[in-house]
Structure formats: C-alpha cells, structure tokens
Subunit: 217 residues, 2 copies
Amino acid sequence: MSEQISSVMLVDDHPLLRKGLKQLLALEDELEVIAEASNGQDAIKLAAELDPDLIILDLNMQGMDGLETLKRMRDEGVTSRIVMLTVSDADEDIVKAISNGADGYLLKDTDPEVLLDQIKKALDGKMVLSEAITQVLATALRRPQAKTPAELNSLTNREYEILHLIAKGMSNKVIARELNISDGTVKVHVKHLLKKLGLRSRVEAAVWMVNQQGGKL
Amino acid sequence: MSEQISSVMLVDDHPLLRKGLKQLLALEDELEVIAEASNGQDAIKLAAELDPDLIILDLNMQGMDGLETLKRMRDEGVTSRIVMLTVSDADEDIVKAISNGADGYLLKDTDPEVLLDQIKKALDGKMVLSEAITQVLATALRRPQAKTPAELNSLTNREYEILHLIAKGMSNKVIARELNISDGTVKVHVKHLLKKLGLRSRVEAAVWMVNQQGGKL
DNA sequence: ATGGGGGTACCTCAAAAGTGGTAGTGCGGT
DNA sequence: ACCGCACTACCACTTTTGAGGTACCCCCAT
C-alpha cells in the first residue's frame, strides 16, 4: 500500500503556492499531482471526476471559500482524503473544517519537510493537525466552561439548579421530588428563570442550557 | 520568569512511577518537586495548602480517580497548572479532562525527553497534548456528524422535521404555522415521534435532539 | 383492488406548564 | 430594627401538551 502511487489534487487560488506545493510533492515518487484548481467550482467538478486520493484545499479563497468547497464536495459524495491548508488559525474555522469532514488542518507556514510528512500521514488515513492547531482545538473544547454568560449570573442558586434539571428533560413534578419542594414552588422558580433569561418556555430553556453546556461534552 | 524555580507536585498511586518522574524532573534545575501524593484525597489537601505551580496528575488511580480529583481541585479553587498523565487514550477521558480544567494530557509512554519538554511548556501556560492525543481529540469533535442513531431512521420526514423544530424550542402552535398545517396535526406527529424515540415529553425530545446534533459545534 | 403507511384534520380528556397574586420564613446588609 | 432578597407554599386561572380515538386522502405495493 505504501508503495502505491497516490493521486493528489491541489486547490488554491494562488498559482505561486500551487507551484511551490507541487515541487514539494514532486520530491516524493509516490505522490502525483493529477489536477489543480484555482477556485471552488472547478475543484468540486474535478474532485468528482478524478476522485483523487488526496485533496489539498486552501481555506482562504476568493469566491467560494475552502470551507464551503469542502462541504459541497462531501455533499457530492467525494470520499478523497481532504486536508485544509491555510494561514488562518481561527478556532471556528478549525472546528468547522473538521466537523465538515476535513482529514487535516495544516498551516502554510509549516516547515516544508514537516508539511510533506504530514501530507503522507494524511494519505495513511491519519488525522493531521499542525502543532499550533492543537492548542486551539483544545481551547475550543474548553470553551464551554470558560464562558459564563451574564444571564446565568443573574440566576439564583435554586433557579440555576432547576434550570439544570429542566435541561435534563425533567418535569416540574419530578424536579419537585428531586429537590424536596412542592411542584408549585418549582413553577415559581421556572417562571422567574424564564423571565430572567428572556425565554418563553421550558423547552427553550432546555435547549438554551444544553447549548451553554456544550451538550454531551 | 523562565529563571524562576517552579514548584511541582506529583500525584500517582505507583511509587515507582513517582520516583522515575522525580528523577526526570531533577534534570532541570528550575523544577522542584515539593510534594507527592498517592491518592486523590491527599492530593487535594496538599494542592490547596501548597499551591504548587504545576500538578502532574495520574488519571488512572485507585479510589478517587484522576478525573474526579481534578474536578474537586478546581472546585476547591486550586489554580495550579494541572497536567494529566496516563496510559489511557480513551477519548472520553481526554475530553472530560480538558473540559474540567486540565492544562495538558500526556501519555506515560511518551519519550522522557519529550515529556520533560512538554512539562516545561505546560508551565509556560501552554496547553500540552501528546501527539497521539490530537487525533482522538479531532475525532471527538467530528463524532457528532458521524453517528446517525437507529432511532432517527425510524422517523418519517415530517416527524424528523418537527423534531428539529422542537429542538429549537418551538411550541406546537408555532410549528404548525411554520409548516402550514394545523396544530392538532403537529400534536399527532409529536405523539408519534415521542413513542418511537421512547421519550416522555417534548423537553426530553429537545434535549435529546440537541445532543444528537452536537449542539453549536 | 385491496391494503397499508404517511399525512392531514378533528374530537375529547387529563395532565402539565405557565401567569398572576398573596404570604410566611430566614438571612445579610444599612 | 428594618428592608430587600431568596426560598418556600398555596390559590385561581389559562394555555399547552400528550394520549386516546375516528376519519379522509393519496400513493405505492402486493
């Protein structure tokens, strides 16, 4: 398998960068650049036609950006390995890219040798991430804890407690038993917490809370 | 700052590993091991008393495990940098550790030099993660997309559509207007979808759905 | 064509949720 | 000592939900 020649497609709106990348990849006999595209539309078409083993996709492109291109490719059923290449280390982009099916996220300022190494790893089926990305990724996971929206601070302990239980799907009656208070009292707290949060129902409260918590994470 | 001596506390129920780690850290003049603990209880107490710059915490301990210890330390207001050290690369642990305030997650089979290097990075305020961890982390982020629970397939289009709207916090009436059907009909769909999913209320459905979607990620 | 599933609508009924108000207790701050 | 706030409880009342059931339409598969 490692002896097989892998087909690679480059997508970047900077011809110069494509050239450089191509030269880099040429260092490896088992890598062959079979296509290049300078925009998302062409890339999607070519990807569907040629089904390359690997697609190296620039995140910051004019017109349809890399993220959108990525999404559409996956929608079209492209199963190639896709590695995002970018100057950006904006956390949202990373999370979105991976969520949308990217197999790697590399920075353009990465040392060429390392870059080549990572690209080969990506072809091996591994998820490759630039060193600097790791921290951002971790921070993204951590985020849920970090931010405590102002709204939450306005809640009393009891209200906060009850909000949590609502976010578990519990009814007023169950919450009442859980906290050893009357269900009428629970209603009072729910009423107050809804007002403070500017929500219209416990369902909205539950959804809001689950999102705050970052769901199952 | 880099010239200052940093205090380190080791927490691991294997004396041998503590010994080895201590020797490793002794190689660096600016690192001083000021305390050791072999269980969570002691660790929490010592951490609160000594407030070390860095705590190296074993994840797999008997009794109170590392994750629980981590949580309680943070609850107690311990602000030290805390790095988890472990043999496990179970994704849940990683995500939980970081979510609960760990500043790093290192594997015990890491090359000692690298380990030392990472520990120093951690003291510098960086988030340190073992190479192998990165993939797991990325996979964790990706997970939401991948799985499509069997329950969801049993839903009809209409039911699925309505489930989505419930997960936005909408009431039957609002959903009805949104879909141009009567609210009575919405009720029917809700009833069916609750039965199929084995849930007891729209709140549970909303929470369930939001979690399936992976929340805002 | 006959049957079944999905979608729609309507009915009834009981339970749950939400709104308004009153009111007692306990606690921390002025 | 007094005030405000959190927490508790109860009442009355409206709206929303969810569980039954029946019924009609449409489409597709046997």
